[in-house]
Amino acid sequence: MNSIDAQDTIEREAYFVYPKAFKKWHGAFLAGASITRLPTEVVEEEISTSPVLTAEYRLGLPKKWNLCLKLSSNYISNLGALHVSRSLINKKFALALGGNASMWFGHLELQAIKLKSYGVILSPQLTFGYDFRKYFLSVAAEVNYGFMRTFSNEEELATFKQNQSLFAIKIAIEQPLWKTHSFLLFSKLNYAQFYYQSWLSYSTLSDYLLYPEFGFAFII
């Protein structure tokens, strides 16, 4: 089978980030990993690379609404998110407007650290993408609002508000492999005062710093 024939067999829902609506009640599962570089202005050099495993499920809803559930973890930092969006343009060029409601939980118990933190992040998100036939290119922009609470030995130590703590642009390329299965590569540039994976740093800097993230996943 030549490549054109192979392309012809690909079903057109072989995407996950691309914002075109799924058919009603159609779902897709994504499993992958990402790695984020945490700036050494806020974390020690030894922990400046943060890998995370991710699983997501996307479901097509009526009237071009989309629902996505996301779980990611590297044991120390764990995040669960619910993403709801509506696909506003559903052609080759697609556009969706939505938002994430996330809860994260961080914990670490070592000889000198006994901390637990949890936080809530709300993030409006705009995603647009283009279907190039051989692959889907998508760009998503988001801004984060949230807060975090920190405990040690069950005593609350502090609550931190994190308004507009992060602006991010994610560029994703999804290449269909076979049927509805695809491979996803993404780069995400987080420009943040606070990024949940660096919760242990309790940085006092109010600067926005860059937290570049790179990831891959299989859409099953």
Binding site: R37, P39, T40, E41, V42, E45, Q111, A112, I113, K114, L115, K134, Y135, L137, S152, N153, E155, L157, A158, T159, F160, I171, I173, Q175, F183, L185, S187, L189, Y202, S203, T204, L205, S206, D207, L209, L210, Y211, P212, F214
Partner: protein, 412 residues
């Protein structure tokens, strides 16, 4: 996948990773050129304790919050406020019956800075202060410049600095703050030591390593890197180089040389009123090398009429074992970061748990009953500083932001 797209994505990834390498380092503060202090004489010592206190702020500025703690350090007057963790550092002078101050302001958490000048006129309290009398009111008028414009404001004395039942140590981490805290001097440098007092510290923590030829020097990281030094060709560890090589080849980010411990202790004794130095040991066999310097400079401070504690830090079991093995606890005080059992075994008079262990209420009380002072490290965030201060248990905080701790400690 399309090869071009792959290349673009890979390129983007490299650019993103590289962009994160941009370092925040020491930053200059504006140098005053207001000439208020031309031909002014030194401010009388009588003035200083009477003038220190908490002042309300009124005027065109809101970025300093509602009040400010004013505190003297030698000839320098510093102010610490709650909002934006802002602080001011001022030179002082007395002229024609008025008191003049000029220097810089800075937000500790960001890069914003500018010039500031203050005047305390004779009719607003200066006359009484100069004869050692507490005036009925003190009103200081000021002007503050940012990059675009200037603002007039006024400070009025509200109350004296808070008096606490026990001595409290505000310990400047890495001699006063890290490179990423944008101070006008490199971390662990000679210039940073007197600056730490202006930032509100009354003690410092510093990191000691040995060079290849056994000279104790101040340096934090395990490896030489452009985070701390300017020379990209210098690789490896401090102990890979002799002191002469480091002196010849290495400069700290602000251009200073890597200081020896002896040079640093000289500055502490001769140029500051710091009460305590915490020597955080990096590596092995350091304790034996620095113990004689500890004795020499504690004695030198005593001769000059100062009480200075210099503590050998015991951050891990290796250094703990070395310290215990040398059997020097009688004359060489130590501060132990391990748990209470180690503190007792080492007969260290100081315990230094990390803040991330929690408030440790009962454990701190117990150590204090046993005569052990407890310093928590490294506490930077304003909310955490408030929370730990509210317990009124600890004997000191090690911090990268002495100005934040100073405001919270002296104003509450």
């Amino acid at each position: 996948m399309n090869i071009k797209v792959n290349r673009i994505l890979f390129g983007l990834f490299i650019i993103l990773l590289h962009s994160c390498q941009k370092k925040i380092g020491p930053e200059d503060v504006p140098v005053t050129s207001l000439s208020l202090l031309d031909s002014a004489t030194a401010v009388s010592e009588k003035v200083k304790p009477l003038m220190e206190g908490v002042y309300s702020i009124r005027g065109d500025i809101s970025n300093f919050g509602q009040d400010m703690v004013l505190k003297w350090n030698g000839a320098s007057l510093s102010g610490f406020s709650s909002k934006n963790s802002s602080y001011i550092v001022l030179k002082s002078g007395e002229k024609n019956g008025n008191l003049y101050f000029e220097g810089y302001w800075r937000y500790a958490e960001s890069q914003q800075t500018g010039l500031i000048s203050l005047t305390l006129e004779k009719d607003n309290g200066a006359s009484d202060l100069m004869i050692g009398k507490k005036p009925a009111s003190i009103k200081i008028k000021g002007t503050l410049w940012d990059s675009k414009t200037y603002f007039n404001f006024e400070m009025n004395y509200i109350r004296p600095l808070s008096v606490h039942s026990k001595a409290f140590y505000i310990i400047g981490h890495r001699c006063g703050g890290r490179n990423s805290d944008r101070l006008p001097a490199s971390e662990n440098s000679l210039k940073m030591i007197p600056l730490s007092e202006q930032l509100g510290a009354n003690a410092i923590e510093t990191d000691v390593q040995l060079t290849k030829d056994g000279v104790p020097v101040l340096f934090h990281d395990d490896y030489l890197s452009t985070r701390l030094i300017n020379e990209t060709y210098m690789i490896g560890q401090i102990r890979d180089y002799t002191f002469a090589q480091l002196r010849a080849l290495c400069t700290l980010k602000d251009g200073q040389k890597i200081p020896t411990l002896e040079e640093a202790l000289e500055v502490v004794v001769d140029k500051t009123n710091l009460k305590l130095v915490w020597l955080d040991i990096k590596g092995t066999d350091v304790i034996k090398a620095l113990a004689p310097l500890q004795t020499k400079y504690m004695n030198r401070a005593l001769i000059t009429g100062k009480k200075l504690d210099i503590l050998i830090g015991l951050p891990d079991e290796t250094n703990f074992n070395e310290y215990v093995g040398l059997n020097i606890s009688q004359n060489h005080p130590a501060i132990c970061e391990l748990n209470e059992d180690f503190v007792r075994s080492a007969q260290a008079g100081f315990w230094a748990p990390r803040w991330s262990l929690g408030l440790l209420t009962d454990r701190v009380k117990q150590m204090q009953k046993e005569g052990v002072k407890t310093f928590i490290w490294t506490l930077d965030n304003t909310q955490l500083v408030k929370r730990y201060l509210a317990t009124d248990e600890f004997d000191g905080f090690c911090t990268n932001y002495p100005s934040i701790v100073a405001y919270e400690y002296y104003s509450n």
